[in-house]
Amino acid sequence: MEHDIFKFIPGNIKTLLVKFKLETEDRLLEIRLRVNRPVEIITYYNNFFLEGINSKDRPYIVKKDDFKRAMLILTDNSLYAVERQLREGFITVEGGHRIGFTGRAVINDGRIDSIQDINSLNYRLAHEIIGIGEDIINKIYDYKNNRLFNTLLISPPICGKTTLLRDLVRILSDGNSKMGIKGHRVGVVDERSEIGGACRGVPQKNIGKRTDLLDNCPKDEGMMILIRSMSPEVIAVDEVGKMSDVRALTEALTAGVSILTTVHGYNLNSIKLRPALKSLLDNKIFERFIILSKRKGVGTVEKILNSRGEEVG
């Protein structure tokens, strides 16, 4: 089946990708377009540049016009609708795929107002792997109190953090009688529409039957809304890092809500260097840490640690 991200790729390049049968390639991770340079393809196993339409041709060189067309498709001719995302350097499209970009930053009052003259696009495919959380859920679930331990997933980019988070949300929401896990009310604040892959507010990914999704909403405000209005038992958010996120997390914890979240990093020590997370770590707020890597392929669970940093058996 063709990846749904292909409908966001401009015509010329899409033709090439189809020619090389990449539209159905399961192991596709990223498609990178850089102006006046060839198309780079990154899969689970390797990376390479795309050849021209005929094998004798030189690699296809991405033109400025390809970018113009890509931006028209990505923004649906509606820049105003993705204003905030343009400031942050990425757009999330249907299916939860994230398209990152670089270009010329327009600065206003010392802050990035927008990114213009886009010169590089990175199509990152969102993957949904149902069941990957089942191997580890028993290590992060407090069976005694029927609750999720406050859990932090740590990994560098492209190691499957969001995919694992999504599946854990699904398991917690649906419950699993075989594993002795009851269904929980899960609130998801999906600032970048990557967890639920929502299209116009409706989740396209399986995030469970008892999950309330707050899509395209800043994490800090979203968590407060969920606590006030949806009485969640678990709150899941992706990529915490700002002080305001930490304040909202603390608020959630004091309201008795379990937290499931992710952060970029290589190990526990690397995230201790982040000032915003320091207070949470010092106060041993997180009861479980899941460390991911790509060592044996994307989504390798390296370790699961408890709040004292000891490996959980």
């Binding site: 409908k7 401009p10 015509g11 067309r69 028209l72 498709i73 923004t75 649906d76 001719n77 509606s78 820049l79 105003y80 609708a81 204003e83 927008s114």
Partner: protein
């Protein structure tokens, strides 16, 4: 004699009808201009308060307006949804061309609509609001002109239709 009477009646009827048709164009132009302003207002609400994407905002605008103005928005929305790589102003020019005779708008109004399309979708919310407000002001000015023209010309065309046909009948006799 009867034949002459019948011919005269036919001339009178056609002349009057021609006068009414021409006069009605002025009224229709005013109506279409008002409908266009309503459309831009609805469209503005959609994108400013809902941040609806362009194709959907055009579609919703079409629902709230009457033909032939609604046809512009319906067609533009359909083309845009089907051909996402196309630039909106090109699509808009295409639909304006299609409905030019039905809309019966003056060149200055068409220019206002083309300028609007060139800027829609390509900037942030604040700029979009300004563009819509500016377009509304320009359309109001076009409407005022059209109302004045209608006040002058509607009666003129209606009477001249009747009078010209009467004159023809007298000349034939």
């Amino acid at each position: 004699m009867w034949l002459k009477m019948l011919g005269s009646l036919m001339v009178l009827f056609s002349g009057t009808a021609l006068g009414w048709i021409n006069a009605n164009r002025y009224n229709l132009r005013v109506k279409n201009l008002r409908e266009l302003q309503l459309a831009i207002n609805l469209f503005n609400t959609e994108i400013i308060y809902q941040q609806t994407i362009l194709a959907d905002a055009l579609k919703k605008t079409a629902v709230g307006t009457e033909a032939p103005v609604s046809n512009l928005f319906t067609d533009a929305s359909k083309i845009l949804a089907a051909k996402r790589e196309k630039i909106f102003s090109d699509i808009w020019d295409q639909v304006i061309k299609k409905y030019r005779y039905e809309l019966d708008l003056k060149k200055d109004t068409l220019k206002v609509l083309q300028e609007w399309a060139q800027q829609i979708g390509s900037s942030d919310l604040t700029a979009q609001r300004k563009i819509n407000e500016m377009t509304l002001n320009k359309l109001t000015a076009c409407e005022e002109k059209a109302v004045k023209a209608a006040e002058k010309k509607v009666k003129l065309y209606r009477y001249s239709g009747v009078l010209m046909s009467l004159l023809l009948i007298i000349l034939f006799y």
